[in-house]
């Protein structure tokens, strides 16, 4: 059900300090989300593609993960030019496709693609426990990080519980239809999942107390300082400032217009 095809690897990107990667990913995706100039968007997208290439991600998985985005974009391209007001470029009976609508679609496509590729190359290339530790280093509250790791840990367990329950209803001849009985069955399935989760939570909590839990997770991976991190950082700042330059025509003032 759930896989992490990019988490382990030995590329240049995988070896960069995860804290640097998370911080830079936040910075460049925020910037990409605010762009309005097509050259700047193309530059950001090129940067994200270069990162995906450098991280040596498996192309098949990259495309598979872009599927839900592509489905959304198809919907956008079909709907927005028709409903968006602006100068009509094509008329068909009462329907009008607007030029501004098409431009907006292109903008959404470039930006969302760039942002998702940044995320894939920089954040999905680490395991969840490393992500948790990096977030903590970047001043995310410890309790939230703890919650993230806890949720991650139990998704797989609860996923197996779900599989078991699903097998049980299938073996009793259930096939989904649009009937009240069907929805009731799903409701009990969901409720049973929550009940099992709650019972498990109680046991887990007791086990944690028993082992002297005091609200801290001790992580075994360490961040090793290296000159590579700084080279990566400078390169990414180059991307950031280059994009800014294309967007605004100058790098000063650095304030991003709201």
């Amino acid at each position: 059900m759930i896989e992490e095809p990019f988490a382990s690897g030995n590329s240049i990107i995988h070896r960069i300090d995860p804290r640097f990667r998370v911080a830079v990913a936040i910075l460049v995706s925020m910037e990409a989300a605010l762009l309005k100039d097509f050259r700047a968007m193309a530059f950001a997208l090129a940067g994200s593609l270069a990162l995906v290439f450098l991280a040596r991600l498996d192309l098949f998985h990259v495309l598979k993960r872009l599927f839900s985005l592509v489905r959304f974009l198809v919907f956008v391209w079909l709907l927005i030019p028709l409903t968006y007001e602006g100068q009509a470029v094509y008329l068909f009976g009462p329907l009008a496709w607007s030029r501004e609508g098409f431009l907006l679609c292109a903008q959404i496509s470039l930006k969302s693609l760039a942002i998702l590729l940044f995320f894939m190359a920089l954040v999905s290339t680490m395991g969840l426990s490393t992500l948790g530790k990096s977030l903590k280093a970047l001043f995310v509250p410890g309790k939230l990080v703890h919650l993230l790791l806890m949720t991650y840990r139990y998704i797989f367990v609860i996923g197996q519980e779900y599989d078991r329950l699903e097998t049980a209803i299938k073996i009793r001849g259930f096939s989904p239809t649009t009937t009240l009985h069907s929805y009731k069955t799903y409701a009990y399935l969901v409720a049973m999942l929550f009940v099992k989760a709650s019972i498990r939570a109680e046991r887990v909590h007791q086990a944690m107390i028993l082992r002297g839990f005091r609200g801290r997770f001790y992580s075994l991976d360490t961040f090793t300082p290296s000159y590579r991190n700084w080279i990566f950082f400078i390169a990414m700042m180059g991307l950031f400032i280059g994009t800014l330059f294309l967007e605004r025509g100058s790098v000063w003032p650095i304030t991003i217009r709201f």
């Binding site: 989300a33 409903t83 007001e85 959404i108 693609l113 919650l147 409720a191 929550f194 709650s198 939570a201």
Partner: protein, 201 residues
């Protein structure tokens, strides 16, 4: 329900981020370390359950379940949903980093509202409790749709027609969420009532 990357204006992204941080801060404050295991594992269950597809006529939709999560967790629904969204981003690339705040608000704010509106009625007579639960499921998805619509319309007024289409198309989902939430809550009330707020032994 998700807003995708690259659509919203800077103001909307910033507003979503600020509200999400505030809500998460309140949620974290109300959730002491005693409850982290409970909230975390319920959040995993929410993540798994929201992958379930149900049939609607010839089409299908996945469950959202923010109403029932709100009833069980109250303000802790904010951090729980934020965490589930981070995991969805990591696993399925349903969204990236910049819409995390907005999407958290879209899902979690209705959950908290449903907690304040309906959590006191869950141990009343079965008929009242079931109605309250059904309304909580229905309205949570409706509010989520309206918040999503608002974020789009404040970005571009021209999105109005599209928003009407999206909210309208989600009406069957709201009805199904209402039915599923009602049956789920009544089941939990029988099997493990201490999971619901307002339970006295």
């Amino acid at each position: 329900m998700h807003v995708s990357e690259g659509v919203l204006s800077a103001q909307m992204l910033a507003a979503g981020g600020v509200i999400a941080i505030a809500g998460t801060a309140v949620g974290l404050k109300k959730m002491n370390y005693e409850r982290v295991a409970e909230v975390g594992i319920l959040s995993s269950a929410f993540f798994v359950a929201s992958l379930i597809n149900v049939r609607i006529g010839v089409s299908s939709a996945h469950l959202i379940l923010n109403g029932i999560l709100g009833l069980m967790l109250g303000w802790a629904a904010f951090p729980a949903i934020l965490v589930a969204l981070i995991l969805q981003a990591v696993f399925f690339q349903f969204g990236g980093l910049t819409v995390l705040g907005v999407n958290t608000v879209i899902m979690a704010l209705p959950a908290v509202i449903s907690y304040y509106l309906f959590s006191r009625m869950l141990f009343n007579a079965p008929r009242i409790a079931a109605t309250a639960a059904a309304l909580s499921g229905f309205l949570s998805v409706l509010f989520s749709g309206l918040l999503l619509g608002a974020s789009l319309i404040f970005t571009e007024e021209s999105f109005f027609e599209m928003v009407c289409l999206i909210v309208g198309a989600n009406f069957p989902v709201m009805v199904i969420e209402g039915i599923v939430t009602a049956f789920s809550v009544m089941f939990i009330r029988k099997v493990r009532p201490e999971m619901l707020p307002g339970y006295v032994k």
